[in-house]
Every structure is written in C-alpha cells, then in structure tokens.
Symmetry: C2
Subunit: 645 residues, 2 copies
C-alpha cells in the first residue's frame, strides 16, 4: 500500500522521509510526518499559506490564484491542492510554518507586561478577592534515628513538619514518600519541605535538599486555538518569573475548532490532538519557562488553564465531537480534581490542573477567565468585553447581570485566512499609515527595526484596511478603486496593495493585501460588530449604553481603536471608553493560580453568566450582512468614520 | 566489552540469546536476560538448584558436591559457579525454575478454601469488626440533552446519580469523565454507575454499559518473599471469585530479603525489583484471576496487600536499603493515600492500594494481617502465632498486650536451601511416613496421584526428618546412622535418604534428603523454637502458658504438628492447642478488602504491638544453639518426643 517515498527538505534542518500511498494529499502526508506546514484555511485552497517547492518527482496539482506564473515556473505549489504521483522531494521553506511559528519568550524587562499583571492584582484585591497564598516551604531538621529511636522515616518527618509548620495533620502522598530514604540520608536529615496548607491539613508536595532555594511556582496558560501563551509565577507575591508563547501545535490539523474536532473524531485522533497541544506545545513551553527562570519543573505546584471549550476538551483527551453536533453539549463545563500529570504535564506530581469553567460549547474558560480580569462583574456601569481570538466572544453586563455570545469570526484577527497574515511575533507588521497622496505606507514591525517584515498581524491588517479606505484606495465593498505603483491587479482582475515589495521582505516575496483578504477580514469584523449589536438589541439597548469597552486578544501589542471604528468593527462611541487589555484569558488564569478565592470567583461568574445563541437568534443574519461593508450599510451609525472620498 | 554470545535453550520454548563479557557469571547473565533459574541460596553454591547442562562452548566451573560424576560427564554444571569463557549454549531444564514455579489457580470448588474464609468473616464479625461494604453500583437513566436543556454531560450524570443513589454530593474523577461522551451516547444515555459511598459523598469509579453485570471486586494479595498468593473477592458479601498463586519473580535476585535489598541497591535495582514483583508476578496473577472469574480488571476497586517490610518497600519502588543497615529504619510503617495504578497495577484507575502496616523492619504487614486473622487480640487466653514464611515471625499476646519477634529461619520452610525442596505446588511431596523396619517410605503428593513427585515441600520435609529420626535412620545431630537401599553415602561420606528414585520422579532424577539439607532445616527449626522460647522467657513465661498456638504459612496444605514437635520445632504442649490456619496474611488482607473497619483494626493492632529484637537479646544465641538438635539438647523439654532408638 505504501509504495511512494516522500522527502521533505527544508532550509536548515534534517530532511524527513516517509512512505505514502500514490494519490495521497501532500498536506496530509506532511501532517502525519509531523512536518509543520501552515494551513489556517484547513487545506481548502483559500489561504495560500501551504506553499512549498517541488524539487524532484511528480505531483498532480490543482491550479491556484495563490501561485503566480513565475512561482509556478520555479516549482512552487500549494500542498493542500497536490496529490502524490511518484517518489517526490519537496522543499518546505521556513515561511510555510511562520503562522505556527517559533516559540517566543517575551521580554519581561520592559516592565509593560509586569505593569499589566501588577495592576490586575491590585484591582482584583480592590474588588474584594483576597489573594491568599496557601503554599509554603521551610527547612526542617530531623533527629537521625538510632537503635533506641526507631520511628520510620515518614513518621519522623511528619513529626518535624508538624512542629515547623505548626499544623496538626500532615498528608504525605506517595510521591513524597518514594525517595524519602535517599533524600533524608543524603542531606543528613536536614531537608527543605515544599507543601500547601489545606485547612488544618498540610499536604507535602516535595522533599528537597536543604540548600534548595528555588521559588514555589504556579503556571498560568492561555490555550488559544492559534496561540498558546504561558507565564511562570512566583506563588509568593505573584511576581512574573518568565513568559513565553508559541503556536498551538494542533494548527496542522486545521485552523479552527470545527476542523480540529473533525480530526480528533478519526481513529486515534483524540490522542493525536492531545499530544499536539500537550507534548508538542505546552511541554516545550514549560521547559523554556523553567530554563528562563532557573527553576525545576517540580517547583510548579499549580497549573491554571484558560481555553475555549473545544481546547479544554482536547487538552484532557476528552472527545469533543458533541460540541459541534446538535444540541452542542460538551462533556463538562467544570472539570475538577484533575492532576497536571494525568494529562502528561511534567510538573510537580501533585500539582492540580485548574480549568477556568466553560459556560457553553462556544463560550469557554478563556472568556470566563477574561471576564474575571476585566472586573466588569464589580462595576455598576455597563461594560462590554470583546475577546478577539480565533473566534470572537462578547460579554456584556455589570455587577448585576452578565450575558455572553460567540461570533464565528474565524481566525482573521490572528492573521489566519489572510494570505500574508501571521501571528503578532517578530517580523509582523503591527501598525500602518498610508500617505493619501502618494499611497506610500509607513509601518511598525514587531521586534523593532532590526527585523525585516514577514507579514501582517491582526492590528496591522485593521490599520491597513482603515488607511486604504480612508485614502480612497478601496471602496466600501473592499474593492481596489485607485491605481498606482502600490496597487496591482492580476490576470483575473483581482487587486492587491503591496505594502512591502519582495526586495524588502524577510522572505523575498512581496507582502500584499488582496481583495480576497479584505473580504475575509470584512466578514470577520462584520461578525463582531453584528454580534455586539444583536447582544445589545436583545436587551433593548444600543452601544450608547456602554460605559467601558474592553478589547482583548492576541491581535498585536495594541490595537488602533480609531481605525477599528473606521472600518466598522467596533461601535462609534467615545474613544476614551475603550481599553485594550491584552491577553485577558492569561491574566484571568494568572489570578486563579495565585488564589483559590479567584478560582471561586471565576466559577461564580460562570454560574451567573447567561449565554445567547446567535446562530438561531432572529435578526442576527440581517445584522451580519448589513455589517459586511466599510464601515456599514447604515452610515449613520458611524458619524465619525473618516472616509474622505 | 560484550563479545561473547550466550544462548539459553530449554525444554519447549524459544531459545534466548544474549551477549556478555568473557568472565561473566552464568547465573547473573541468566538473571539479566530474564531466564528463570532458581537460586534460593542467592548463588553461593549451597542449594544446587541452578543446575543446567552445557551443550556447546566453554565454561570455567567450580567443583560442587551437587554434581555427581555421571552428571558431570553429561555436562551438568551449577550456573552460580560457572564463568563464561567462550560463546556458549546451555540447556535450562524446566526443573531449574521449579522453585520459582508456574502460576497456580487454586481449586475453589473443594470448599476447603471457601470454608476458611467464611469462618474468618463470621469470627471477625463476632469480634466486633463490622463489615460494611461502601461500594455500590446501579443503573441510571439520563434525559438526553436538547437545544433547550443544555447541561453538559457530567452535570447531567451527577444529577442522575444523586437521585439514584440518594446522595447530596458526587465526585467524578477525571478517569470517569474522559470517556463520558462516548459512554452516554453509545448507550442511549442509559448506563451503569460503579462507585463508593464516602460519607455524604459518592465517588464514581466508572461508567459502564447498561447490560454490564460484572460484580464489584476487591483483590487481596499476600506478597511473600518466595510465594505470592491472591484472591479475587466479590465486595458484596465477600465470596471468593478466584484464587491464584505463583513464585515471586524477585527470586532470581536472591532467596531472602537481604539479598533482594543488596540487589535493589545497585543501579536501576529499585525499578528492577519492583518490576519483578509488579509486572512479572502480580499483573499476570490479576489477568489470571480476572479470566477465571470472568470480570474486567476495571472492576477491581480496592487492593489490599499483606507483605513483609522489605517486600512492601520494594513493591512501591521505595529504597529498602535502610532496612538492612543499622539502625534498621524503613521509610514507612504505614503508607497511605496510594493508588494501585501508581505502582503500575492495571485495575480500576481509582482503586486504592491498602498496605497492612509494618511494625518494624523485620515484622511487617504480613504479620499484622495474620494477627488480625488469628483473632488473638480478641481473646483473654494467651495465644501464640507463628508464621512460617521465608522467615519465621512470632506474635504472643491476648486482648491486653501483644509482643512480636522475627527469627532468621531462612527459606527452608518453603523448600528453599534444601536440595530437593520446592514450594507446595503440584508434584510436591507434602506428607511422609517411613516403615521402621524396611525403611521404605510412603508419601502424598500435592495435586494427587496423577502427579509424579518433583521434590519436597515444607510439610514433607518436617515429616521426613521426623520419621528418619523416629526410625533411628538419623541421629539427634541429623547424621545418617543406618544403612540400606534407601540410604547412600557419597565419596565425601555425606549421607542421603532417597525417597524417590530417578525412575519414579517427574524429572528423571532422584529425590533425596542430604545431611546438608537436614542441617539447614535444623537451623531453621531451631531458630523458630528458640524464638518462641526467648519471647516467652522475656515475659517470665514458658510454653505451658500458651492456650492457643496458631501456625500459618505456605508450608503445605497442612502440617503434621506431632512431627513438628518430634523434631523440636514447636514446644511439646497438648496437640489440641495447635491450629493450622493456612495463609493468615492473605486471610487478613481479605478482611481488609471487605471492610474499612478491618483496616482500622489492623492499624490499631500494629500500634499496640511491641517488637522484641532477638538478635541483640541476651540469651537468644544460647537458646538457638541448644535448639539445633533433634529435638533439643535438653530432652526434658520434649517428654513426648517419640524417638525409639
């Protein structure tokens, strides 16, 4: 059956060779061989990100507008549209995995991240959620046994712990017992105890050497469909010790949750998807974080995860199929009593895995965690919270009620479904202005000027579309209507704006925004706007009622709110009501790591939040269609939109 | 380094080939290659059980009295005394692993085993230990979800469980959640719930199909140094569902605990010893028991283990080295909060592993469990309890006090250290009489007349020595003093009694008891007798105070008490005070499986039991030396001994 040999070369690593059947799809062969090739459109030919170059052999390829004639002559093809016809060698350029991208350790020295988390801690204390650290460590010295004092090691240690920590009961789990004999004897019966006060009980997480001074840590993880971010936290005081992020390794199985669920429904799929996020994504992040902070993984005593309902099911290896099948019932909203090691995380053996609770199949723990971080539940004024992840979710309410909904915005805000889109990592264009007369762009790149641009992240795309519209380069339907050096049209008449030509980009290929890209993005922003509109309408309200508008998401290091209003993504209300709060899911998970009170609070929020199913709500589709223009079919809603045609 | 090839052939399985260094010890090569060769003397040349036959190649062998000239001519050698000189092929006969022996599923239909356990249950209830079964199972039917009833699966199930089982709180561990979606949907939302009442809480062990009617089971295991026995028990009512036993797979690392501890102290040793008992011994027993009883291992909800201190440390993979080093401090007496799966047992994921508690490095959970089963703690009269395992342990006391000690009797009672000794499995001679005039023997074989004899088990050895002494064939020093067809002397003048000649044995080799064997056995029985004597003397008592004398151990299907008195192993008191109670450790573990009250009771016994260290007790060595005769140097202690010289 497997009689064709397939070799994947790449720019600087060892080639990978596998066998497959003739007729196999190249993208799928790559996925099974664990060769990273981006396919945020899930391999339907739409995004053009899976471009690779044929070196040798024969492939049957569909034609694609993403491949220029020049590229075709050089052997470039789309993996998703190619079937294997003979023994084949292809070259996979680094850029083909740019969307999944490399791991990134964030710079904590800038103080910006630290400030966000510090403010959150102080705000949340102000809202009455006391942060109580139950974890503790101390040195204990034990009388060595003698022939006349023959208590076994564990009882001897328990007695010393009772004395040192002033507790009446001590629980020594098996893991702490196993190496006790060696631990005590190698350290001359002087050791450090790491544990947790649990009511009157003291639970022992570990016995380490007397001169071990590593801090006790917690780990907060935001598992997005596209990006996974994590912070390592000192449980005493909440200091950030390290921060890192990477693409979610599941991306090769599809860009959105629906494609992931379909994939996990195949034989062995649940394990495959779980391994992709646990072994290939989170475990390397943990290694990286621990190296950066110089602590052992066994010092991670608690793990909190904020993730959408599908992601947290796949994380646990729980079949997520019912999430996408009517009546859309997940296995759990709350999943308690799980140990991190049960899902394969190599942290302290007794570390608990806390999942921020879901409230429905499409409003998950990422949103309850984010809501916790906004503090909207503590304000009398009405607030709106929008999380621009791979999908968009919206929460509206105050200290008396909370209502939420989810919009099928797709991955455009994180650069998916956009031909030159990418995550907000080094080399991403994150802010753009255009000179109206010359149509020449200026832009900022993530990482600074030392990085040549690679593509556009969400905030850059918003800026670019807003500027193209403001300068009259595209019309309200997102079609190119001016001509010039920067605007080109292909043989089918499709226009594109070239923001970076091939000589100036990192990849040697131009960075441009096509009409197809703009159309994708308009659908995404239309989903968000109409979601907000419908949610407010369902309560007989409109945007003027909103006093605080929190924007979260991995869209870039910030978002130009004015531009987002210009394109009709957000309602046209006073700019000072808006606040960009960064990754609120991670921030919410961070507070839960630091406090059981925050855990209780997030569970309370989830219980009190109502869910509005947009897809069956009357009027939503009309609202959506009306919003799929720049800025909207009803221009009276956007008096401050700045088109100057 | 590894430039010699070693091939082990055998009677009917695939040969095993390994590489080793020239000069390697054959027995050690076999152990590392996992080829079973008995070495109850730990490879010091004493027992002669590691006999194998050289087929090809060259070995450097020590001379040994265990190899006759004929055998030498045929290529027989002792594995422990042979070093590899070239590429070698040896044949390992089945008999070379007879002591480790095959697994045995005991016949429960006889009613004998059942009666012992039934009586114990009734006795223990009579003693005030109520047997409360907290495990429960029932069918639940759940309303399928709809678009208007969108509770997640786990909450839906929890509500149904609360209703069905009449509980206010339900704990669903991760394991029960993981396959819930499939379980509910494949069974049309009608399932069977297996769980346990824990106070007001109900803990879910499993969700199975509606038509699953397997009983809820517990597993009691007696892990002896030589033999491991287990019973599978119906948690509802305590019926025995299956019983099985096998040799402890650790035997290839030494016959006694000291050699095992030395072995586990080597690199990787802890894991090697743990694997030998868990993976190679207990796991196959579990498979066998479940097959016999036709239940899934996931129905085993609780596991109780009775084992000596070294065995339970090695079982958990806990370094046992301090057990043999002054001041002889183990890691634990009690080890709580362990799950069976944590040590690698494939039973229900949430099944707890209960270890009967140790009271010292040399009086372990096997003895506390056994003491529970004797009920001596519930009687006013003074009782003595002797467990003849690989070592001998003694408990003396009543409902007011309990005192214990351990004797270094060695493995003789289970057939170790005896050239034709074996465990009490099929083919073992378990009872012997000798015609005083003709010196011809009559004997019973375990398994009945359909089995040709293979060797002698403990009870058979006691009978044989007693009869040899009664008939004047050996003197009080255990030396052969009569001549005849049955008694032979070798070139060094060492006598032996041939009970089965080579034509009638299963192995084609004679079964005989040598003077060396008798000497070994006399040391073992002397240790027991002097232990009893010393323990009683320490309380200013003697054997006449003993009202009940309980004898336990895997010595055979029974023990001829009169013969044991004749050889001076047990004190010369009224025969009707003696009771052979079989495997009391297993019986004690069995009651703990069935009841948390029994667990509490065995912990209470352990706390109340005092330990007397014999090795440093004044007078013990003198007592021991005096007891190393048949029956004793002080014949006045044995007025009823029946020697008729």
């Amino acid at each position: 059956m497997f009689d064709v040999t397939f070799t994947f070369e790449n720019e600087d690593r060892q080639p990978v060779t596998v066998s497959c059947a003739p007729g196999a799809n190249l993208l799928q062969v790559a996925q099974h061989a664990n060769v990273a090739i981006d396919a945020p459109c899930s391999g339907n030919g739409a995004c053009g990100k899976c471009k690779v170059r044929l070196i040798e052999g024969e492939l049957n390829c569909w034609p694609s507008s993403h491949i220029t004639d020049e590229e075709k002559a050089e052997g470039w093809i789309l993996s998703c549209g190619s079937k294997v016809a003979s023994d084949v060698t292809v070259m996979v350029p680094d850029i083909a995995a740019a969307y999944q991208s490399r791991m990134q350790t964030a710079d904590l020295s800038s103080g910006k991240e630290i400030a966000i988390f510090e403010k959150l801690l102080s705000d949340i204390k102000g809202a009455g959620v006391e942060l109580v650290n139950t974890f503790a460590s101390d040195h204990v010295e034990i009388d060595p046994p003698t022939l006349d004092d023959t208590l076994p090691d564990n009882e001897r240690l328990v007695n010393a712990i009772k004395k040192t920590f002033g507790v009446s009961k001590v629980t020594m789990p098996f893991s702490a017992t196993r190496d006790l004999a060696r631990n005590l004897r190698e350290n001359d019966f002087r050791v450090r105890i790491v544990g947790e006060h649990r009511g009157p009980d003291f639970f022992v997480y570990g016995v380490t050497s007397y001169d071990d001074h590593e801090p006790l840590c917690g780990l907060a993880i935001d598992i997005g469909t596209t990006t996974v971010s994590a912070v390592l936290v000192n449980l005493k005081g909440g200091d950030l010790l390290a921060k890192a992020s990477s693409g979610n390794g599941q991306i090769r199985y599809g860009a959105d949750v629906i494609n992931r669920i379909i994939e996990q429904g195949k034989t062995g799929g649940v394990k495959r998807l779980k391994d992709a996020v646990v072994c290939e994504t989170i475990e390397p992040l943990i290694t990286k974080l621990c190296e950066t902070a110089n602590v052992s993984p066994s010092k991670i005593l608690k793990v909190c995860v904020a993730s959408n309902t599908t992601m947290n099911h796949l994380l646990l290896g729980v079949d997520a199929n019912p999430v996408r099948m009517e009546p859309y019932i997940p296995t759990f909203f709350h999943a308690d009593d799980i140990f991190a090691m049960e899902i394969g995380l190599h942290v302290n053996q007794n570390a608990r895995l806390i999942l921020c609770p879901n409230i429905g199949s499409y409003v998950g723990g990422d949103i309850t965690a984010g809501t916790l971080a906004t503090l909207l539940w503590n304000k009398e004024e009405l607030s709106l919270f929008v999380d621009l992840g791979t999908n968009g979710e919206i929460v509206f309410g105050n200290n008396e009620f909370m209502m939420s909904c989810a919009c099928s915005a797709g991955p455009a805000f994180e650069g998916g479904d956009i031909s030159c889109g990418m995550r907000a990592t080094d080399g991403a264009i994150q802010a753009v202005t255009i000179d109206k007369d010359t149509m020449e762009p200026s832009y900022d790149v993530v990482g600074g000027d030392s990085f040549k641009p690679i593509g556009l992240c969400g905030s850059g795309i918003i800026d670019l579309i807003s500027e193209l519209y403001r300068c009259g380069i595209v019309n309200s339907k997102g079609k190119y209507v001016r001509e010039g050096d920067r605007v080109k049209f292909d043989e089918y008449g499709m226009g594109r704006y070239i923001i970076v030509d091939q000589t100036k980009s990192e990849t040697g290929r131009e960075i441009a925004l096509t009409e197809v890209d703009i159309e994708s993005f308009i659908r995404a922003k239309g989903a968000i706007y109409s979601g907000i509109d419908t949610l407010l309408s369902s309560l007989d309200m409109d945007a003027s009622c909103v006093e605080h508008f929190y924007v979260a998401g991995g869209i870039g290091s910030g978002i130009n709110i004015k531009n987002a209003i210009n394109i009709g993504m957000f309602p046209d209300i006073e700019l000072d009501k808006y606040e960009y709060i960064g990754n609120s899911s991670l921030a919410g998970a961070y507070t839960c790591v630091l406090s059981r009170n925050a855990e209780k609070k997030v569970n309370e929020l989830a219980r009190n939040m109502t869910y509005l199913e947009l897809s069956t709500y009357p009027g939503y589709m009309d609202n959506f269609i009306a919003a799929c223009f720049l800025p909207h079919t009803d221009l009276s809603r956007f008096p401050n939109s700045v088109q100057e045609l």
